[in-house]
């Protein structure tokens, strides 16, 4: 497992880097509107009415953006949470923690692609 993690590390780091950069850029607008603006009434609720949301989400660009703003934060999150675990719980548990976190990120990534294809 340790050997596998070492071999995959450059790839994980690349996706994590993408997560920090592009993921952060995408999440800002998403959270501002979907998470805060519309629920608090700052933006009109019918901006996210089903018909409009469906139309936006099923467009090719919409699918790509939605997939990225799920996948990239998952990998950034998994990588940093793993580091947090090492800092507090030590390196020994990493052989359990890392596969768990990256496993969640992997599963979430697959489900993200399925989710946008269903739109």
């Amino acid at each position: 497992m340790k050997g596998l993690l070492l071999r995959l590390e450059p790839l994980i780091w690349l996706i994590f880097g993408g997560g920090i950069m592009v993921g952060t850029m995408l999440l800002t607008g998403w959270v501002a509107v979907v998470g805060i603006g519309v629920p608090l009434g700052i933006f009109p609720a019918d901006a996210l009415a089903y018909d409009r949301a469906s139309m936006l989400g099923s467009h090719l660009i919409g699918r790509v953006v939605l997939a990225l703003l799920i996948i990239l934060p998952l990998w950034k999150g998994a990588h940093h949470t793993r580091h947090l675990s090492i800092d507090f719980a030590g390196g020994e548990r990493d052989v359990l923690v890392a596969p768990l976190l990256y496993g969640i990120a992997s599963l979430g990534s697959v489900l993200a692609i399925v989710a946008v294809l269903r739109l």
Binding site: L6, E9, P10, L14, H83, I86, G91
Partner: protein, 251 residues
């Protein structure tokens, strides 16, 4: 004619550890009449000369170039020959550098550092040495600038004492070793990047670094090891990507 120099008393709480007598390290307190322009090292030398000759610590050049006198001063890794006592209050706590096993008093075991250091092959590696008749290797100022900053490391190990990853992952190569490996990878005379990247992606993996940046905060020579380590990650990824496409040995 006598010159009277003003002195102010400061209390030094110093870690003591004698492996033959002490189960665990303990502290000992010394009252030291300090001159205002003293560094912490001057106070330690006063303690050893005038109060307690049994105190053990490393020091040498007194001018921030040898890297011997690194210690924890009020919880932060410092070069004691550089650290002025007037930046502290009346009580100063001096302890051995964090993250290292302690041999005695303020003296740390640094063989572990030397092993990590040598593992990155910190020398020019060439496939074939130039014959003497062909002259010296030539390098432009621009080529020198690519690595010069990283060659300024004095191996004082303050960065290891500050790094949270070093505290938790024993195999991690650490800031100074990676910086030096990266220094050689960036040297236009060197041809050993592929070999060093194997080490960078091995057990001591550069990717263990989580960019806390503490190493660069404490570096007394502005080497910026955090920059070197993160540049090394980038290069290691490129090395990994090219090794997927090109078989090893084609470099």
């Amino acid at each position: 004619m006598s010159i009277s120099i003003e002195k102010h008393k400061k209390t030094f709480v110093v870690t003591r550890f004698d492996p033959d007598k002490d189960e665990v390290p303990k502290t000992q307190t010394y009252e030291v009449p300090c001159q205002d322009d003293w560094k912490v090292l001057d106070a330690l030398n006063f303690i050893k000369d005038e109060i307690d000759p049994t105190l053990s610590y490393r020091w040498s050049c007194r001018m921030e170039v040898c890297g011997s006198c690194g210690m924890s001063v009020n919880g932060e890794p410092k070069l004691t020959c550089k650290d002025p006592i007037k930046s502290y209050g009346d009580t100063i706590e001096v302890a051995p550098l964090a993250n290292f096993p302690v041999v005695r008093d303020l003296v740390i075991e640094f063989d572990g550092f030397m092993e990590k250091f040598q593992s990155v092959k910190p020398w020019i590696i060439r496939a074939k040495e130039k014959a003497a008749e062909e002259g010296t290797y030539r390098q432009t100022p621009a080529e020198l600038d690519e690595f010069k900053q990283f060659s300024m490391c004095i191996n004082c190990m303050l960065c290891y004492a500050a790094c949270p990853v070093v505290a938790n992952e024993p195999e991690f190569l650490g800031p100074a070793a990676i910086t030096l490996g990266h220094r050689y990878n960036s040297d236009s005379r060197d041809e050993g990047a592929a070999e060093r990247n194997q080490v960078f992606r091995g057990e001591g993996t550069v990717f263990s670094c989580s960019y806390a940046n503490e190493c660069s905060e404490v570096c007394p020579k502005d080497v910026d090891p955090a920059a070197a380590v993160n540049q090394a990650k980038f290069n290691a990824v490129i090395d990994w990507a090219t090794s997927l496409v090109l078989p090893r040995g084609s470099k």
